[in-house]
Amino acid sequence: MATTTVSIGSNQSIATVTPASSSTVSGEYVITFTASVSANAAVGDIFVITDEASFMGTTTYLLTAISGSNYTLKYLNDGGAGSGDQTPYGNFYNNSFAQASGTFKRAFSTITLFEAMVDDTSNLYWGASDDLVGECHADSTFTDHALVFDNKRSLSSVTLTVNSADRHDGTAESGMLLKPTSATTHNNGIVFSKIDDFTIEWFDISLNSLNSGATNIAINIDGGYGNGGIDNNVVRNCLLHDKDGNPGSTGPRAIMGSNGGNAAHTTRVQNNIIYRFDEDSNDTTVGLFLNNLQPGVVKVFNNTIYYIRSDGSTKAAIGIRFQGLANDEVKNNIVAGMFADGDSDHERAFYGSDANATVSNNLSDTTTHATYSAKDMGVSYNDTTALIGKSLVEIDFVSTSFGSEDLHIGDDSVALEAGADLGNSDNVQYDIDGIDRHATNVIWDIGADQHGTAQAGGGGGGGGGGGDDAGGTHKLAPLLGVG
């Protein structure tokens, strides 16, 4: 299956450059330019060039590859000029009859318009059955809301991701940021997937401007019960944070699975950091609310969840809510900082309904009632691999300071080297910084951050390691741009 990447960002004047040479490879144009191109230009951008001297047409290309000074451009549209020859070099002239320059721009200026184009066409800018990647750039803050992906035509998959140069570093506002400024429909979600084979990764979503709004969900996955269900949705390596206030009849949820599922379908939530979901008016708050996807399968791996607060004497603060059917898996998650009113058992780090899932190596803290700890999860799992009753000092987050949170773990964390090795399927091995736990053959930590560097006894991909030691912390070089 072919993959097509298109860029999303507000920069429509990335670089204006003049072609210096051209060759054709597999129907695409490999171009060099008379001057170096800004490093901000990236695969997925478009290149727009106008002939001002003869046929007056404006032609658009998609940048499909960069190799040194060679830029591969795929022809998209000539504005109906019908000039025939679409070679960017030696074919477009300025008013002085010299080679015209062209400009690199983002393909789409908002995520909303990318979604609308996914809904519109299958084969104008990408192949009808492609794996389509919408790659966001941190040109400016995205303010999209109500991003409903409900039709992908015949595309094989749709991925929303972030260019490797613009990804967060595990802390808020350090890379691409999606921070809506107007409310989304209650119970729907800022990003709402109703399609198969949908992945959202590396997003930093802040709900901080929506404290007086009805938005209560960052990412919603619609199980589609009654419509055959949707399959293979993945939320990974995201930062979801800062919902305060009273969104309405239902409290905040960082990630929501809704409307039932299909037993043959799977949803994966892995390597995300979620913090500060805080209800102000008599509602339950949940970090990951996934049990409504049942009988669909959920895989919940290596997430870090901190500071979930509910309000009201009968309401609960819940870290991970899941059904617990036989194919569900909940492993390597840190859940800490559950705050609720009323009875102490309203503070629930892990809350399953059935005790049939595979659970292991999860961690809960002192704020959680024992029944809902990483060991028992509300239904007597009695998981002996769990770490329970740990204090925040023992978990050792780098910073829990409001406005400068950093939920990486420190050198003394009990989560270090306490996780289960989950292999390398479905990209589960990439931590919140893009470190490949599998290739570097480390002993897995619990949570989204891989801080420990001790080598596993065997297996793994070997190699890796080395790299930068950021002040005596990470010894592993993040692998940005992973698939």
Binding site: S10, A116, D120, S140, G189, D396
Partner: protein, 273 residues
């Protein structure tokens, strides 16, 4: 206020649907962020950002908190809106907040987009993009940009739609009216007036629906622009708007813009749903 409108039906959008909206403040802010993007600024010999640059002034004007390292362990946090200050360190305060300054800073510095200013031991950084309406701080932001650079706010009043978008959608701007007697002046629109134009039509909830029930989307957009009847107002023919080979941009100067009620219609009010 700018609207971008669907041209022709697609799988779940209808011809004329208002796909996206932009208010002037958000347009101005996006341009400001492009100008003040960290990738446009270099590093000093400590690997940090120089103090008192446009980048730092931009962050000071747009963030809620300033963090200053005052010694090996302590970090002073200043709320830039209220002026309140406190000290954070490895020992949790009464709210459970703590910071391991060395670790925090060293992790930031490996990010080529980092926004840590100053020098070793006296680092400064900013946190949390302000949550208030952009109208509360967009003017100071542009005052800073205009005083530090040759960029002018007045040159950054339109959204930069892409070539693809202008071929497939109709870019329109509109206005409100401020009346004085029988006469009016055209004014920018903001807030809910803008954002409701992007809303969906949902099924009504009943008392028997469970708490977490999310309502069906009956129409992906509630508002539409019947551009096929508005060729004169938009200054563009229907044929051109529907031809993806033609880049159309129907945006006009403020004194030529049509009122929002002339361009946008509610499907419910119009009896279409």
């Amino acid at each position: 206020m700018e609207l971008i409108v669907k041209v022709n039906d697609s799988a779940s959008y209808k011809d004329g649907d208002v796909i996206d909206v932009k208010c002037l403040d958000s347009i101005n802010f996006a341009h400001a962020e492009n100008i003040c993007n960290p990738r446009n600024f270099g590093f000093n010999t400590s690997g940090m950002r120089d103090r008192n640059t446009l980048l730092e002034k931009f962050l000071a004007a747009t963030r809620t908190y300033k963090f200053e390292r005052v010694n090996a362990n302590d970090v002073r946090r200043t709320n830039l809106i209220t002026g309140e200050q406190d000290i954070l360190n490895k020992t949790a305060n009464s709210d459970g907040e703590k910071i391991h300054a060395d670790l925090f800073i060293s992790r930031r510095l490996v990010n080529p987009r980092h926004k840590v200013f100053g020098s070793d031991g006296s680092e400064v950084w900013y946190g949390k993009l302000r949550a208030e309406a952009l109208a509360d701080f967009i003017l100071p932001v542009w005052n800073i940009i205009e005083s530090e650079t040759d960029y002018l706010k007045s040159d950054h009043n339109i959204w930069s739609f892409s070539e693809i978008e202008k071929r497939h959608f109709a870019c329109i701007n509109t206005s409100g009216r401020s009346y004085s007697g029988d006469s009016f002046t055209r004014v920018e629109l903001s807030g809910d007036t803008v954002y409701t134009r992007k809303s969906s039509v949902l099924e009504e909830l009943s008392d028997s629906d469970p708490e977490d029930y999310n309502p069906d989307i009956l129409a992906k957009r509630q508002w539409f622009v019947p551009y096929w009847d508005l060729a004169t107002e938009l200054g563009e023919t229907v044929d051109n708007l529907r031809n993806i080979n033609i880049v159309c941009d129907c945006r006009k100067p403020m004194d030529e813009r049509e009122h929002i009620d002339i361009l946008t219609y509610d499907k419910i009010t119009e009896g279409l749903i």
